[in-house]
Symmetry: C2
Subunit: 357 residues, 2 copies
């Protein structure tokens, strides 16, 4: 049995059309190696790493696998200085700080996630990963051109047809159709309105019909059936995040793990944890200040605004202020490693497709 669409396999030189979502701060070298060794596309999230750490991480990956990998970067606008807005937001959080006895951070807040720069581009040119994925659109055309010239395939996420067309016009090699079910940050870069974001099933149909590059379905995909369904919709591959969070290779906290394993877990798209809309588990902070709050500091400064509070709460076993990213799909209860999970998902998807014959 073959995959009904092999364009993504050919494009990336991989064996299984499964892209592991690059989840910044939630996975690293081990996850990328495991998925790559299984034959999928292992991704190494670089958005929260210094150029030195990117180089060291990739060196370690290369020492453990010769398979293709994806380096992921964010390309948001740097947060503008706005001491007043930051101070007002901290003031709003002050009662929580008082309640937990945590020390308030100082203004100006410091970003730990930095956009893709020319300096980082030089690192990419040296490392030459098979794939470079961007989130929040694309960096400057000149940087994209350099990445492509280095031989890397370039991909990015679209949350609407308009964003997909924009990416296709700028020469991306494949488009991730990020449906509303997806966990973590929405890739939205032209869109600003959460209320009009589109479910995966509808979004994949729309994008597949409008662009000629392969489409990677993302959002709510976490088992063999949903992978098979993505192919039926016309996708050439899938990107999976939440299901991998439950693998031992993930670097999430026990709190996050427990929240994902909760059968009735509820997720919402919220901006109060980072400053940009992202889907995560409904926590006390999100309930009380969100899910969408227009007074929030610019991305990613809402995260350092919470950091001491979160640390204090987590030390007490509470996830009230934690970034518990999660999509709406199911999570595996198998406890499998990421390599075994990747193979199992692929087998189940192929067997599901075969059963329909």
């Amino acid at each position: 049995m073959m995959w009904p669409d092999t364009r993504l396999l050919d494009l990336f030189g991989i064996e299984l059309p499964i892209v592991q979502a690059p989840m910044a701060n939630a996975c690293g070298v081990d996850m990328a190696v495991a998925v790559a060794e299984a034959g999928g596309l292992g991704s190494f999230p670089c958005a929260a790493l210094s150029d030195e750490k990117i180089g060291a991480g990739v060196a370690e990956i290369r020492s453990r696998t010769g398979k293709p990998i994806n380096l992921n970067f964010f390309c948001h606008e740097p947060a503008p200085a706005d001491a007043e807005r930051e101070a007002a937001w901290l003031k709003r959080l002050a009662p929580y700080y008082a309640e937990l006895g945590a020390e308030m951070p100082k203004v100006p807040l410091k970003a730990s996630i930095v956009p893709f720069t020319a300096a980082t581009c030089a690192v990419v040119e040296e490392l030459r990963p098979t794939v470079v994925s961007f989130h929040f659109g694309l960096p400057d055309a000149a940087l994209v051109a350099r990445v492509k010239k280095a031989g890397c395939k370039v991909i990015s996420s679209a949350t609407t047809l308009r964003e997909a067309r924009w990416l296709a016009e700028r020469g991306v090699d494949a488009i991730i159709a990020q449906g509303a079910e997806a966990g973590g940050h929405r890739g939205m870069f032209l869109e600003t309105e959460i209320a009009t974001q589109i479910g995966t099933l509808a979004l994949v149909q729309q994008i597949v019909g409008a662009v000629s590059v392969p489409v990677i379905a993302a959002g709510g995909i976490g088992d063999g059936r949903s992978i098979a369904a993505a192919f039926v919709l016309g996708a050439a591959g899938v990107q999976i995040g939440t299901a991998y969070l439950c693998c031992p290779e993930a670097t999430i906290s026990p709190l996050h793990w427990a929240a994902l394993a909760e059968p009735g877990r509820e997720t919402v798209i919220t901006n109060v944890l980072s400053g940009r809309p992202a889907r995560g588990i409904l926590t006390r902070l999100v309930r009380e200040q969100g899910p969408i709050n227009t007074a929030i500091p610019a991305y990613p400064l809402a995260t350092p605004a919470l950091a001491p509070l979160r640390a204090k709460a987590e030390a007490k076993g509470s996830g009230d202020f934690s970034l518990l990213w999660s999509g709406q799909g199911g999570v595996p209860v198998s406890g499998l490693g990421a390599k075994e999970l990747t193979r199992k998902l692929a087998e189940e998807a192929l067997s599901r497709l075969k059963s329909l014959a």
Copy 2:
């Protein structure tokens, strides 16, 4: 080529596993007859009809087709009298009334959509349709028992796993998994929070794995591929609304039709058009007062609050205040009648499933 799951066909005695969504005020006898004649489940929306009109409509349907049909009813709580809230909402709308020179409605507002009653149940017992579908949960257990005793299959919509389990425990014969992409009113009856509503792809997976009755996928399904994908996810059938709205049998306004045909149409879940969350095209009123407004009168009284305004605006060619229900799926541009569309969708779905073999 057979359908991969024939439980719904057997249950309802139909030939094609396509349920036409019962869209109150947007379709009637012609649509139900056309879909039934194609072999799908034609639905006759009864929520906005008097018992007399229900009887007359079914008589006409029966004179034109002997195929199984579905009668749909709403089972919301009647809106409580709240003159203050209604007056406050009308006051908020007053600038629009002044702008258009429309006459404000009087308090108390009058509901045109009424819940399923014992009297209506008696009509159902007489008409004995093959299927009775409910929206917003189920009516009193005694009424459900009477409908089942009359030989009708009972179905209802779930928007979360919790709602699906609730329906299954109460003995429904099948469950519509209404994903967030779906147009029109959310069936939510235990859930009250829009932000945690779930995309079709994720919801169908969850519900299929948790209940033993057949699951009908709804939301974002409007072409052969998405029907096929629903089966791959484990659904035994689909419910399709928006695609049928573009058929000549639909009774929507030219304004609504034009808005659906707009390639970049944007939809949101809003409560400002009726008092309950429903997905429709983003209009001026929704933008300015919604999408979710907690000052809204109880369902369905937000609709009569707008009626004169809407009529005046529509007479001027504006849909600013109209109920332009729409899901997030694609719409057919073929101009086919509902009978031909049903057959085409089924053929395309089967051919898609076959192509994967």
